[in-house]
Symmetry: C2
Subunit: 334 residues, 2 copies
C-alpha cells in the first residue's frame, strides 16, 4: 500500500516520466504510461533497467513484486482507473494546460493529478481544469527513482486534502515531500540550481574555466558538503564555535563584492552552446550516456548507504533509506 | 616526501588554518602554527582530533607517523626553516598584505608562500612582497583535512615554477589542485557558491522557505548529484541520449525567465541575520558544533569511500582517495 494507491498513470515518457514510472513500478504499483512517441516504451524499459540495477543494490531480496509497466495508446486509456496521475510533458504552459485538461476530463473523480513541472505555477496550469482542486505540482529530480526530493506546490484552487494525499503517496515511495509555503516560479531547488548554473555558464563564456574544470571545482569541494548538509548548516560550521551569526558577520560583506554576474543573463548563442556541448563531449571521455548513468546511479546508491550508516538513525537521505527498507520488507512480507 | 617538504608554517589558526595544520601533520609533515590568539593552540588540537578520527577511518594503520604540531610565538618563528608557508588570516586585503610581507621577509628564500584567501587577488596581495614570484593563492575548502579541492591562482608576478611546486605539495597531501587559467575575484568555486548563497538568502528574506527547508531541498536532491558529478555532467544526463546540446536547447530559455533575484544583493540587516541565525539554531536540533562536525566528517568519509568503490578505478574524489591510500602505505613503509 502506497498512500492507498495501487494503479497510477504517467503521462509523458521522457527522462522524468520514465523515472516516475520506474519508481512507482519498483514500489509494487501498476503503471500505465502514455507518450505520443512510439519509442517511449523502449525508452522507459531502459530507465526501468537502470532503476532495477540500483534497487537490487539498495533493497536486495526485500523488494515487493514490481508493478506492471504498460504502455497506453491514449491519455484516456492511461488514466482510466488510476488513483494518481503524474504528468511529465515538456515545459510549455499551453501544452501542460491542454494535457492536464485532458487528464482531468478522463481521470476518476478521486484521482490526484500532479504535474512534474520544474517551474511553472500550478495556479496557471490548473486554470482550465474541471477539477482544479485535485491538481498540484509534484516536482521530482533526475534520476527520479533514486533522488528523494519532491517539491509539492499547491495552486490557488488546490484543495489542502490534495496536498496531504499527494504527500502521503510520495512518502510511500521513499521520497521526501517538501511542501512549499508559497507558490513561486521555479520553487526552491531550481531557483538555487539556476543561480549557480547561470554563473557556471558565464565562467565558460568568459573562458575562465572549462565545463570539466567547473564540475571538478564542485565535486571535489562544496558538492561533497551539500550532499549531506545544505548550504546553511555547512556555513554554520564554517563559523566555528561562534556559529552562523559569526559567519554572517564575517562573510556577509562579500555578498556585495562584484563576485558574480549579478545583472546579466548569458545569451545561449551558437558559440556558447558549441563551447559547452563540445567541452561536455570531451569531459565524457568516450563514456556513453548509459555508462555515465550507471556510474551516477552507483555513486548515488553508495552515498545514500554511507548516509544511512551515519549515526544510529542515519542522516537525512540515509534515514529515509532505512525507512524505505523497512517499508519494503513489510510489503514483501519478508 | 610531500613535494619534498618536511616542515611547513601555518600563519593564522582559525577553522581554515587549523584544518591545514591537521592535513599537513597527518601526512607526516612537521607544522609550526602561529596565531595571535592565545587560544589558537587548543582550537588547533580540537581540529586535529577531528581530523585524526576521520583519517583513522580512511587510512587505518597505513598512516605514516604524524608530524609534530607546534605553536610559534611569532610569524618569524613559524616560518623559520619552513619549505612551505600557508597563510590563513582574516579576509582583509590590508591585513593579508602586512602578514604576507612579514612572511616574505622571514621565510627561507626557497619557501613557497601560499594564501588561503577565498577571493582576494594574488596580484593585489603580493604587491608589497620582497619576492612576489614565490607567492600565490592556494584556496582550500572546509574541512581542509577532508575536502580535496585547492584552487591554485597565480598573480601577475608569480613564477610558473611556484605554481608547479605548490601543486606538487598539495597533490602530495591527497588534494586536487585546480590551477586557474585566469585571475578573477572569488576564483571558480566561490563564484558558484556565492551565486547560490545569495539566492538562498533571498528565499529566507522573502519568507519562501526556512533555512532548514532550503538545506533539505539541497541535500535530498541536487546536492547528491553535485557531490559526484558537477552541474554540467549532471545536465548532460538530464538531456537523455541527446545529451548536452539537447538539454541546452530544451532548458536554455528558462535562464531568461524571472526565476532568480538577478540584480539585487540582499541586505544583511539585523532582521535577516536574526532570521537566519535563529532558524539555523532550530535546525541544529541541539547538536553542538562539535557533534555536527563529527557527523559531517563521518558523512564525508562515507561518501569518499563510496566514490572509491565506483568502477575499477574509483570516481573523482574516490580515485584520489585510492592514490592517497597507496601513498600513505608507501610512506608508512607498510
Amino acid at each position: 500500500m502506497t498512500g492507498g494507491i495501487e494503479r497510477v498513470a504517467c503521462v509523458g515518457g521522457g527522462v522524468i516520466g520514465s523515472g516516475w514510472a520506474a519508481r512507482f513500478a519498483l514500489n509494487g504499483i501498476d503503471v500505465w504510461l502514455y507518450d505520443p512517441d512510439p519509442d517511449a516504451g523502449s525508452r522507459a524499459e531502459v530507465v526501468l533497467a537502470n532503476a532495477e540495477h540500483a534497487y537490487s543494490r539498495l533493497f536486495g531480496d526485500m523488494r515487493p513484486a514490481p508493478g506492471a509497466l504498460r504502455i497506453a495508446r491514449s491519455v484516456a486509456e492511461a488514466v482510466d482507473g488510476a488513483g494518481f496521475v503524474q504528468e511529465s510533458v515538456p515545459e510549455r504552459l499551453d501544452l501542460k494546460r491542454r494535457v492536464l485538461a485532458e487528464i482531468g476530463a478522463a481521470a476518476p473523480a478521486g484521482a490526484v493529478v500532479a504535474s512534474s513541472t520544474s517551474g511553472l505555477l500550478p495556479s496557471a496550469m490548473q486554470e482550465h481544469m474541471q477539477h482544479p482542486e485535485r491538481m498540484l505540482v509534484g516536482h521530482p529530480f533526475n534520476p527520479v527513482y533514486l533522488l528523494p526530493l519532491v517539491e509539492v506546490v499547491a495552486g490557488r484552487r488546490t484543495a489542502p486534502e490534495t496536498v496531504e494525499r499527494a504527500s502521503a503517496v510520495y512518502g510511500g515511495l521513499g521520497m521526501k515531500p517538501l511542501v512549499l509555503r508559497k507558490e513561486i516560479d521555479a520553487f526552491i531547488a531550481d531557483r538555487l540550481q539556476e543561480a549557480l548554473w547561470r554563473e557556471a555558464l558565464w565562467l565558460v563564456h568568459d573562458g575562465v574555466a572549462t565545463v570539466g574544470e567547473i564540475d571538478d571545482a564542485m565535486r571535489y569541494s562544496f558538492g561533497l558538503r551539500w550532499a549531506q548538509m545544505g548550504v546553511f548548516q555547512t556555513y554554520r560550521l564554517a563559523g566555528g564555535e561562534a556559529g552562523m551569526r559569526h559567519f554572517l558577520e564575517q562573510f556577509g560583506p562579500c555578498l556585495a563584492w562584484p563576485w558574480t554576474k549579478l545583472t546579466d543573463v548569458p545569451e545561449l548563442d551558437d558559440a556558447l552552446i558549441d563551447a559547452v556541448a563540445d567541452q561536455s563531449d570531451r569531459q565524457a571521455e568516450g563514456l556513453s550516456t548509459r555508462e555515465l548513468e550507471r556510474i551516477r546511479d552507483d555513486n548515488l546508491v553508495g552515498i545514500l548507504e554511507a548516509l544511512e550508516r551515519s549515526g544510529p538513525a542515519g542522516w537525512g537521505a540515509g534515514a529515509l533509506l532505512s525507512e524505505a527498507r523497512q517499508r519494503m520488507r513489510e510489503r514483501s512480507g519478508g
